[in-house]
């Protein structure tokens, strides 16, 4: 029978199928961070269990860490406790760890692919929903809860039932000024935040194939925002080129054997999907969210929608609540919405390509008066690369702050937070109420669009700046 990419990776990792269809699924890579792991290690300790495969596990600190000077250590006692707890746990259980002051430290979903820890055809998990990012390599990568973190630490497996297959095909070439972020926001706008529930989404089509790995990771990253268990893109020459030379990946003859296997993974012709969606790339414009759910999104050329036009009572009430929280008026042009803060970073858009896109817009311009703009590279290596290219200077000369790597203002667990009522143009992935700080208002958009917002002081159509 013709199989999908998901079917193939799944089948290659089934250790055993139980009578009711639940599978013991083998996990190739387990990524661990400080927020969702302490209770898992504690559970192991209490049960007298060990980590089954330290050599398939990697730990890093990212969520809590300061993005300013780090030599001074972490000031907040509770954040420091989580970081120190992880350090104690990795030492006690022999888990490989990238320390805070190492150049390779960064957001767990940035460093996995960057180091060659995440590879095609693998099963990859992490106690973090944006593990879907790694699916860009053609792996099955998904977020798990802390009990499952403990389960993987102890057994290197998970108990899972197969997901359903969903295909999102984006065909055609991307118009000028439109990026991977706009594609995925457009997809979520179309299918909704529960559109992928129970499914693994495989992204196909010429627009997806034309993306570089950074863009593919941006798309897969936000699969979870469409409710999907995971997102995947078939490995191809772009993937192999990316993997070549990654520090912890296979090299030489081993790499060639790996590539030979990876070539067998793309979906067979005629493979069928339980659900199928098609988008025409040519119709996608730069996107921006106006509400407190990623599906509340519109082209930058559009206006804030009017709840009066929504028939369903619950949906109308939800939209009214969103507009009240976001302090927006129905019919208001999105390009008239002023911003206070701009955040460029996160596992969605914290790669070198994203920083280049932002710097290209910022070059020779100035951050608008009264706007605070932060650029937080996704990893220490991204930061170093950007500095080698002089992008840090372009950005700081324009008035952006240039920070150390971490999650930062994506979720405000470290000191980088919005204050109540502040409005932020953010390249991250979630615009939930209070996500970036209590009372903060988030507009999700691409790095180029975020830079455009920084220099104009409002949500702006980046295509107009480029002209």
């Amino acid at each position: 029978m013709a199989k999908t990419l998901f079917d193939k990776v799944w089948d290659a990792h089934v250790v055993e199928q139980l009578p009711d269809g639940t599978c013991v699924l083998y996990i190739d890579r387990h990524l661990v961070h400080e927020v969702t792991s302490p209770q898992a290690f504690e559970g192991l300790r209490m049960a007298g269990r060990r980590v089954r495969r330290p050599d398939a596990t990697i730990a890093v600190v990212d969520h809590n860490v300061p993005t300013t000077d780090r030599q001074a250590g972490i000031k907040e006692a509770d954040s420091r406790l989580q970081v120190e707890t992880l350090e104690r746990n990795v030492a006690a259980f022999g888990v490989p760890y990238i320390p805070l002051l190492d150049d390779r430290q960064g957001i767990v979903h940035i460093i996995g692919p960057e180091e060659g820890i995440s590879l095609p055809g693998m099963t990859i998990v992490c106690g973090d929903s944006h593990t879907s990012t790694h699916g860009a390599l053609g792996s099955l990568a998904f977020g798990i809860g802390t009990s499952e973190v403990e389960h993987v630490l102890a057994t290197q497996t998970l108990l899972q039932k197969p997901a359903k297959n969903m295909n999102v095909a984006v065909e055609g070439s991307l118009p000028f000024g439109v990026s991977a972020k706009d594609i995925v926001l457009a997809i979520i706008g179309r299918i909704g935040t529960a559109g992928g529930t129970g499914h693994v989404v495989e992204y196909t089509g010429s627009a997806i194939r034309s993306l570089d790995m950074a863009g593919r990771m941006t798309v897969c990253n936000m699969s979870i925002e469409a409710g999907a268990r995971a997102g995947m893109i078939a490995p191809d020459e772009t993937t192999f080129e990316y993997v070549r030379g990654r520090p912890m990946g296979p090299k030489g003859e081993a790499l060639e054997r790996a590539i030979a296997w990876w070539r067998t993974l793309p979906s067979d012709p005629g493979a069928s999907y339980d659900k199928q969606v098609r988008l025409d790339a040519a119709t996608i414009a730069p996107m921006v969210t106006w509400g407190t759910s990623p599906e509340a999104v519109a082209p930058i050329t559009g206006t804030v929608p009017d709840p009066k036009e929504v028939a369903d009572e619950a949906k109308r009430a939800q939209m009214e609540r969103m507009l009240e929280y976001m302090a927006l008026r129905p019919g208001q042009r999105l390009t008239e919405v002023p911003v206070d803060v701009v955040f460029i970073g996160s596992c969605t858009n914290g790669r070198i390509e994203d920083i280049r896109a932002a710097a290209a817009v910022a070059r020779g311009r100035k951050v608008a008066a009264g706007v605070r703009a932060l650029v937080v590279p996704g990893s220490g290596l991204v930061k170093r690369q950007a500095e080698a290219e002089g992008l840090d200077r372009v950005l700081t000369e324009a008035g952006f702050e240039w920070r150390e790597a971490g999650c930062s203002m994506c979720l405000g667990m470290n000191p980088d937070k919005l204050t109540a009522g502040q409005r932020c143009a953010s390249t991250s992935n979630r615009n939930f109420e209070g996500r970036q700080g209590p009372g903060g208002r988030t507009h999700l958009l691409s790095p180029a669009m975020a830079a455009a917002a920084a220099v104009t002081g409002r949500l702006a159509d980046v295509r107009e700046l480029a002209r």
């Binding site: 190739d28 209770q39 989580q82 490989p96 102890a154 529930t197 790499l255 939930f432 209590p438």
Partner: protein
């Protein structure tokens, strides 16, 4: 894990869709290294104002619902972050069962690992249960996991579906890891086989 068998309790009505895990427990409360104690922060921004005072209009602040053990909500409950702090906060507050038309996958999974029963029922039934729940303290709802039934205050019984494996683990309060370790021989065999077939995959080592 505490087994879940039968529960008769007050149900709190929360007629909201897309209740995300940031709403259930905001990120600033995730800086704990323990599982317990999160109940006071459950639904923090809905429950308290900026000064930390209770908002009287929020359901869990109202007398009949302060000890609710069942929560009834609308579509896509638990979407967003994978934080298990969300079910921990619900459990610490005392919620043992959430009833909604559907749930986000990771949250749904996390509930079972913590002895919380997520019940999926069609929206039309949710609307009836929501109306029952709004009646307050004397309007108790019963959840019978063995029989797979929700019993309305009127006595009407409503069947719900549940994965048989999950049901067994909940009824017995069994830990997944113990279950899986019964298959350790199969895991050993799988590892041996793939380590030769996929020997091109190196182990992880962090060199200074």
């Amino acid at each position: 894990m505490k087994p879940f068998t039968k529960l008769t309790a007050v149900a709190a009505p929360l007629p909201m869709a897309n209740v995300d895990t940031d709403k259930i427990i905001p990120a600033r409360f995730l800086k704990t290294i323990e599982r317990s104690g999160l109940g006071v922060h459950l639904f923090d921004t809905l429950r308290y104002d900026a000064e930390g005072r209770e908002r009287p209009d929020f359901v869990l602040n109202q007398p009949p619902y302060r000890h609710a053990q069942i929560l009834i909500a609308h579509e896509n409950f638990g979407c967003g972050s994978s934080r298990e702090h969300a079910p921990w906060a619900l459990l610490d507050f005392g919620i043992r069962c959430v009833i909604a038309p559907d749930f986000a996958d990771i949250f749904h999974n996390n509930c079972f690992k913590n002895g919380i029963l997520p019940v999926r029922l069609p929206r039309s039934v949710i609307d009836q249960l929501m109306a029952d729940a709004k009646l307050g303290a004397n309007s108790r709802i019963t959840i019978d996991l063995e029989a797979q039934e929700v019993v309305r205050p009127s006595g009407e019984r409503i069947h719900f579906d549940i994965d048989p494996f999950r049901k067994k683990l909940l009824l017995e309060g069994l830990d997944d890891i113990g279950q899986t370790l019964q298959h350790v021989a199969a895991i050993d065999a799988y590892e041996a086989k793939t380590q030769s077939e996929r020997s091109f995959i190196p182990g992880i080592e962090v060199h200074p």
